[in-house]
C-alpha cells in the first residue's frame, strides 16, 4: 500500500496511505502534479501542527470509504443537524482544536471535514444572543459605544407579521 509522509509545521513526520491522503484535494493535486516524482515523498501542509495532523488523519481514515462529496458550491442545503454520530464524538474537543481543524480542513481542502466542523460551530451559535455568543467563544467586544448602538438598531417594525 503506497504511503506518503506529511510534515507538520513543527517538523514531525506522519505516514499515511496515499488513498486516505487523497481525500485532501490539495494533496491529491500535488501527487498528480508532473514535478512530483520523488520516491521518498512528503508534503508539508502549511500551518498544520503536530497535534492536529494525527486528528485529520484519523478523520480521513474513518471516512476513507465515503462517496466523494457532491459538487454543491451553491450551498442550497442549510442543514446543521445531520452530523454523523462518529463525527459528533470526534468533534467533542476544546474550541482551540476545533478551529484548528477548520483551518487544516480548509488548507488541505477536505470538504467533508470542513463541512462537519463548520456545522458544529454553527450549532454552538444558533439561538444565542450576541452577548452569549461572545461569552461562548471568548471574543472581546470590539464595538465602540456608538457603533454598538447603531448595529443594535434592528428595525422592529420589519419583524411584525401581517395579521
Amino acid at each position: 500500500m503506497p504511503t506518503i509522509k506529511l510534515q507538520s509545521s513543527d517538523g514531525e513526520m506522519f505516514e499515511v496511505d496515499v488513498e486516505i491522503a487523497k481525500q485532501s484535494v490539495t494533496i491529491k493535486t500535488m501527487l498528480e502534479g508532473k514535478w512530483y516524482t520523488g520516491v521518498d515523498r512528503w508534503v508539508t501542509p502549511p500551518n498544520v501542527s503536530s497535534l492536529i495532523c494525527p486528528q485529520v488523519i484519523q478523520w480521513c481514515t474513518h471516512h476513507k470509504d465515503d462517496p466523494p462529496p457532491p459538487e454543491d458550491d451553491e450551498n442550497k442545503e442549510k442543514r446543521t443537524d445531520d452530523i454523523p454520530v462518529w463525527d459528533q464524538e470526534f468533534l467533542k474537543v476544546d474550541q482551540g482544536t476545533l478551529f484548528e481543524l477548520i483551518l487544516a480542513a480548509n488548507y488541505l481542502d477536505i470538504k467533508g471535514l470542513l463541512d462537519v466542523t463548520c456545522k458544529t460551530v454553527a450549532n454552538m451559535i444558533k439561538g444565542k444572543t450576541p452577548e452569549e455568543i461572545r461569552k461562548t467563544f471568548n471574543i472581546k467586544n470590539d464595538f465602540t459605544e456608538e457603533e454598538e448602538a447603531q448595529v443594535k438598531q434592528v428595525p422592529f417594525t420589519l419583524w411584525h407579521k401581517k395579521k
Partner: protein, 355 residues
C-alpha cells in the same frame, strides 16, 4: 370457550409505574429467549379439553408462555408500542384511545429530544400544543408534557444548544397559562387550579435561568471564532436558515457585522425560504438599482411562512392510519409499506387529532 384476542376481551397486560407514566411490561427470560419459539403448544397446554383455532393459537401461546415462565423470571423489560392509530373520521367505534394527549404519551418524546435530528421538531410541537391544545390534554398527558418540557430545559441549561427556541416555547406557554388561570371557571381546565399555578411558577423560574445562562469561561488561549479567515466566518454565516442567527452573530464583532450585511447572503436566504414568484410581487430596489435582499427578506416573511426543515419527523402511514417514528416502525398491513408513508409536520400532527 374463552376468546383470546387483542381487543377488549383479551386478558390484558401488566403495568409498571415509571417517571414517564404507566408503562406496560412483559416477563422475559433471556436464557430461554431464543428457544421460546421451539416449545410446542402441547407442552404448555395442560388443559387438553380446550381447542384453539387459527392464529388465535399464537396469542394463546403467548399468554401461556407468560404464565409458564412467571416463576422463572430472571429479568423484566419495559414494553411499549411506539405508534398510535389515528381515527380517520368521527365514528362511534373506537379502536383504541387516540386523542392528542394519548399520542403524546405513546410516541416517547422523552428519548426523541436526545436525538439532535428530532429536537427542533419536538420543541415546535410542544409550542403548537401550548398555543391551542393545552385544555385538550388529559391529566396523564399534562404530566407527561411537563415532564418532557423539564427534560428539554435541563438539556438546554446543560449544553446551551439553541436557547432561543426554548425561550419562545416558554413564552407562549406562560402567556397561555396566564390567560387560562385568569379565566378559571369560564374555560375548561382539567386539574386543580393550584397545580397550574405551581406549573406557571416553575416556568417563570426556568425563564429566569435561561435568561441568565451560565456559559463557562473559555480558558484555552487557542484559536477562536474571530481568528478564522474571513471566508471561513462567511462559510458559517451561510449555514444559518434563521435570520435571527445571522443578525445576532453580526452583532458580535465588527467583522461579522460587515459579513452579515452581504447582499448575497440575504439573497440565498430568500431563495431558501421563498419562491421566485413571491419575489416578483414584493421586489425592493436600493438607490443604486440593485435588489435589496435583506429588506426583501423581512418584507416576504411578513406575508409568507418560512420554510420548516427538520432532521427527522414522525411518519404517517395512509394505509393503516398509524402515526409512528421511523425507527420504531408499526404493524403495517399494506402490500407496499413504503409507498404509504408521508412525513408529518408539527401542524399536521395537531390537525390529525381534530375530528
Amino acid at each position: 370457550m374463552p376468546f383470546l384476542g387483542q381487543d377488549w376481551r383479551s386478558p390484558g397486560w401488566s403495568w409498571i409505574k415509571t417517571e414517564d407514566g404507566w408503562k406496560r411490561f412483559e416477563y422475559f427470560n433471556h436464557k430461554l429467549g431464543d428457544n421460546i419459539n421451539e416449545l410446542s403448544l402441547e407442552e404448555l397446554d395442560n388443559d387438553k379439553e380446550n381447542v384453539y383455532v387459527g392464529d388465535v393459537c399464537e396469542v394463546a401461546a403467548k399468554k401461556r408462555k407468560k404464565d409458564f415462565f412467571n416463576n422463572n423470571t430472571k429479568s423484566q423489560f419495559l414494553f411499549q408500542e411506539r405508534w398510535i392509530y389515528v381515527q380517520k373520521e368521527s365514528t362511534r367505534e373506537r379502536h383504541g384511545y387516540c386523542t392528542l394527549g394519548e399520542a403524546f404519551n405513546r410516541l416517547d418524546f422523552s428519548s426523541a429530544i436526545q436525538d439532535v435530528r428530532r429536537f427542533n421538531y419536538v420543541v415546535n410541537l410542544l409550542q403548537l400544543i401550548a398555543k391551542s391544545q393545552l385544555t385538550s390534554l388529559s391529566g396523564a398527558a399534562q404530566k407527561n408534557y411537563f415532564n418532557v418540557l423539564e427534560k428539554i430545559v435541563r438539556k438546554v441549561l446543560d449544553d446551551h444548544q439553541n436557547p432561543r427556541l426554548i425561550k419562545a416555547l416558554l413564552n407562549d406557554l406562560s402567556s397561555t397559562l396566564c390567560i387560562l388561570i385568569r379565566e378559571v371557571g369560564k374555560s375548561v381546565l382539567i386539574g386543580n387550579i393550584n397545580i397550574w399555578v405551581c406549573r406557571l411558577e416553575t416556568i417563570l423560574n426556568w425563564q429566569q435561568q435561561l435568561n441568565n445562562l451560565q456559559i463557562p469561561k473559555q480558558v484555552s488561549n487557542g484559536m477562536t471564532l474571530s481568528d478564522l479567515p474571513l471566508h471561513m466566518q462567511n462559510n458559517i454565516l451561510y449555514k444559518f436558515s434563521d435570520a435571527c442567527d445571522i443578525i445576532n452573530l453580526g452583532q458580535a464583532t465588527p467583522t461579522l457585522h460587515m459579513l452579515s450585511e452581504d447582499r448575497h447572503l440575504w439573497k440565498k436566504l430568500c431563495q431558501f425560504h421563498f419562491a421566485e414568484k413571491q419575489f416578483c410581487r414584493h421586489l425592493i430596489l436600493s438607490e443604486k438599482g440593485h435588489v435589496d435582499w435583506k429588506l426583501m427578506f423581512f418584507t416576504l416573511q411578513k406575508y409568507y411562512p418560512q420554510k420548516e426543515q427538520y432532521g427527522d419527523t414522525l411518519q404517517f402511514c395512509k394505509h393503516c392510519s398509524i402515526l409512528f417514528w421511523n425507527d420504531s416502525g408499526h404493524p403495517c398491513t399494506a402490500n407496499d409499506p413504503d409507498s404509504c408513508l408521508t412525513p408529518v409536520s408539527p401542524q399536521h400532527f395537531i390537525d390529525l387529532f381534530k375530528f
